[in-house]
Amino acid sequence: MAAPEQQPPPPEGSKLLSGLLSGIAQTTYYGNADITEELLRGQLYPEAAPEEFRALRAKMGGLLQSIASADMDLNQLEAFLTAQTKKQGGITSDQAAVIAKFWKNHRVKIHESLISQSRWDNVLKNMNWRVDLKSQSRHVDQINTPVAIVEMELGRNGKVGPCERVITV
């Protein structure tokens, strides 16, 4: 059985890996650009050489990407992680356990983020309405007609869109 690549010290390994996965999720899925690779290395693996850390981050990021892209359920996840522990340059079973726990906690939020990234048409951001009563009008037949006025705010992801106001009867 081939030895896995260099690992961080085991006792705190799980917590550190969990922190690394959180950091990766922050940039990749939650849009937090402040969590740089250098920041993560300094906070989690200050003793590790930059290339070593980069390789670890890339490996974990790649695994998370595969899991998120397939939106794996628990069965798929277990099969996938087990396969990863068996291959050369793969992961340890401790690491598999950390990744599994992380995915269980973050699956829904990461999936929502991926959905949001793929919605580039207008979405309905906000909607207000009121019902008016016309009590006087130049056109006699409109007197006392109830009218619903709807204000819809349409926009793209993260941008404030035009405010559409629509009147309906």
Binding site: S69, A70, I115, S118, L133, I143, P146, R165
Partner: protein, 123 residues
């Protein structure tokens, strides 16, 4: 109830075209909320509606779709409702406004229109 009737009688003195009768049909808490909004508008706390910008509703088309896959996620499986509203601006020109809603957003959309319909019935 007494305060409500007094208000209706006061309005009747100013009434043109039976407005007071209509107002007395509106659910009281809803009427109170409308008055509150008018007061806020008069106090410059909320914007009013510029009736010159209002568009007339002409038509609505919808479709239910499922986004299956994308470049960032192979397994999206995201159901959504896409709506296109045709509206006529004050000059009469018809334009289409399209937007998407997730299922929870659509349920809220539907619920708002149901409420509107209920109010339109009572007025």
């Amino acid at each position: 109830m007494a305060a409500g009737s007094a208000a209706v009688r006061a309005l009747a003195a100013l009434d043109v075209g039976g407005t007071a009768d209509k107002i007395s049909l509106i659910p009281q808490d809803f009427f109170a909320e409308l008055c509150e909004q008018i007061i806020q508008h008069l106090n410059h706390k909320i914007p009013g509606i510029n009736t010159a910008e209002l568009c007339q509703f002409v038509d609505m088309k919808w479709k239910l779709g499922v986004a299956m896959s994308s470049d960032t996620c192979r397994s999206l499986r995201f159901p959504y409702v896409a709506v296109t509203l045709s509206v006529a601006d004050p000059s009469g020109q018809v334009t289409d406004k399209s937007f998407e809603m997730s299922i929870p957003q659509f349920k809220n959309f539907f619920r708002q229109f149901k409420e509107m319909a209920a109010v339109l019935e009572t007025v």
